[in-house]
Amino acid sequence: MNTPIKLPQGLLDLASGEPINLSRRRFLTSTAVGALVIGFGLPLGSARVQAATSAAERGTQVPAFLEIRPDGSVRLLSPFMEGGQGTHTAMAQIVGEELDADPATFIVESAPPGEAYVVMENGLRITGGSMSVRMSYPTMRRLGALARAMLLQAAAEQMGVPVAQLTTQPGRVVHTASGRSLGYGELAGRALDMPVPDPASITLRDPSQFRWIGKPVKRLDAYDKSTGKAQYCIDLKVDGMLHAAVQHAPRLGMSVGSLRNQAEVQAMQGVHSVHVLPGAVAVVAERWWHAKRAVEAIQVDWQEAPADSTVRVMPADFSSDKHRDFLAAQQGPARDDENEGDVAGALAGAKTQVQATYHNQYLNHAQLEPPSALARYNPDGTLEVWLPNQAPDMFRDDIAKRTGLAADKITLHSPLLGGFFGRHFLYESANPYPQAIELAKAVGRPIKLIWTREEEFLRDVLRPVAVVKFRAGLDANGLPVAIEAVSATEGPTEALAGKQGEKIDPTAMEGLSGKAYAIPNKRIAQIYVKGPVMLGYWRSVGNSLNDFFYEAFLDELADKGGQDPFDLRLHLLRDNPRLTTLLQAVGELSGGWKRGPFTAEDGSRRARGVAMASPFGSHAAVIAEVSIENGQVKVHDIWQAIDPGSIVNPAIIEAQVHGAVALGLSQTLVEEAVYVDGKPRARNYDLYPVLPPARMARVHVRIVESGEKMGGIGEPPLPAVAPAVANAVAQLTGQRIRSLPLSRYTFS
């Protein structure tokens, strides 16, 4: 029933970086619903010339990004993936603002791999680190402005008037003097003959004149996602496709010995073929259900990993609780990430010393869409792969390496992501596409492989754990004069590299390092401990654990020093007007800081906690209100003030804050990936609880636009949630919260 997916040949060529001719500038393209439409691309020849002469000018190859259709709708190929964070809508707002086209007229899809789409100011093209908008904002604005200039020039020629007499209104070029106007759709064909103007000649719109940037523009995908029309990788279909399912080795690194019942499985209903893969067995069938049922029936003699295994080997005796104890026992050596003043001297001279040890838990990504991949070898030897990803060029390069194909023989499609949270980076052993490609090659037909939820939980990379030992010194006034944090941990970047780098992995230490509080003597250090668990990036990465540790310990210092935690933070930020404003803003938003405990209107005893975080270029302050209900923590309200500098879409930001609060509460209250005997205890949502609706808090958001450099928004609202809740619980119950999740505690 699905429309087979076709990609316009022009884009295939663009993706390959080969010289191309867009066959008289017209190409067929498929819309999101699969209908074929003739569209007019913008000129490519001139852009190619420019690319050759000024390769450093990012995001100037207008035709690689934009197609304006006869009806005036605008198809934008986004360098960034859409996985719920609203980036596709933001891109339409940014480009539309300068193109002078209503974002509502945009159709946004994810661009293929290729140099043209490397638009981030750090020279990357990834969807992660809350970077998409902030790292491409000026470039994407300029792209829209360049396209507008080309349309103006085309209109000048068509109308026979000087370009200076023309202006635009949304979707149209207007000649005010004569009252004539032309729609962008009418001009796109002629605009093809226009050169891309010199980027230096472009004037961007004055921000005071913005119509769409900074406004709560509606998401472009809201309707499709409310009616089942949005298509994710798992939904895709091509002609002649077979389905596949896998059974993974119970522990990573193990390999397939023999299959005890291969003949029986081969004879099962619907089975096409049975395959042995690295660390897995697979069944290919006409229907996925048949493949799944058959592959689960295979009795495999799994072999222990060889000594020279290329993947991280999970030992048979691994236990996540024992690993935590192992981390806690590490004495060093530690490597300093921050070292200011004289921590040892200040501690020795302090009136009061405070020590505490904190830890956190492993987490799964648990995005709702199980991983899948669709692979098709074409008759000409090229390979097409559809797969969820956050970094298309890296995935294409990896496929090239695995298959021996040149990159220009590989077409990579990046469908909508059914949630990602860091799940869809390139993780050796945790992505299904190598299996799908191998199976497609073996059977000579396209293969769509879907991992069951159970196979996903077995191979997902986990959010790291750390054991952090704090020491701090308070002066005679009870104010902190020294703080030391030594974290025994392995960061996700270290795990991917398999070793410690020249420099400390920032994703291991962010949130312990980079705190803004004016404590004159501080030392933040890492004891690198390589573990047996394959790690990955999880929404807000190092900050997701480290801000919990630091901000909860800071409350301990406040209590020990007889300080109110809100006032102490204000004091420690007294020379930081931006964060002072932010903290005051969240206090105000919550109706004025009150710590409690107090009795709420419903008679329950409640308390509030406060915490701050400065992740991914933005800053956040959170206040949480909690009570204890049936022995469990209930979070009633989360107030969050967030300062991302400047903004593109306040409605999407507010939605991201809600979502980040939900994930933050999930890791605080219920979530935990536990390993026993080398195996995850949970392989589905039954034993791996994620935050259910009943445990969501009311969320109140205030966006503070300081006007500073634009920061991220997908991840920054998450890290301060856990410590704000933990601090509230400590105040309410008198029980210090030094680990997550709270489901491990008993409250009365």
Binding site: G84, R219, A222, Q367, E369, N684, D686
Partner: protein, 151 residues
């Protein structure tokens, strides 16, 4: 066997114990209904069977022969479903969107039985998981819908 889905009859070739979800998705190509867990934990696979919300990932197809199945693809053909979708869009509920087919089905089922549900009834019915954390937006949408009906 013959299934009635979205007011149409389909001849389906599947074993009796095949989950309805996979018949809908693979045999019939209706992919708006999502696979999330296969264990009736998340609700992404929710469909209506005779107007009741059912988790199709654990519903054997043989059990729904002769009954009226509605999937997200036909939700706007239902007057209540159409209002739910409009409110979902108005409230900008979706983020990644993967769970939202199931959320819309659950909302529609509730409102068809209980046009003006109380907060407790909403909480009891809207239990599907959303990893993006759209729960508050869903709440707002449900309150809007409950009010529309009680006016």
């Amino acid at each position: 066997m013959e299934l009635r889905i979205n007011q149409k009859a389909y001849q389906v070739d599947a074993e009796a114990d095949t989950p309805l979800l996979w018949v809908i998705r693979d045999n019939l190509g209706l992919t708006g209904t999502k696979y999330g867990c296969g264990l009736a934990q998340c609700g992404a696979c929710s469909v209506l069977v005779d107007g009741n919300v059912v988790r199709s990932c654990v519903t054997p197809v043989a059990g729904v022969v002769g009954r009226e199945i509605t999937t997200i693809e036909a939700i706007e053909e239902d007057e209540v479903g159409k209002r739910v979708v409009a409110t979902w869009v108005e409230r900008q509920v979706a983020q990644c969107g993967y769970c939202q087919s199931g959320q819309v089905m659950a909302a529609t089922a509730l409102l068809k039985h209980t046009p003006a549900p109380t907060a407790e009834q909403i909480n009891a019915a809207m239990i599907n998981l959303c990893r993006c954390g759209t729960y508050n937006a869903i709440q707002s949408a449900m309150q809007d819908l409950a009010k529309q009906e009680s006016v």
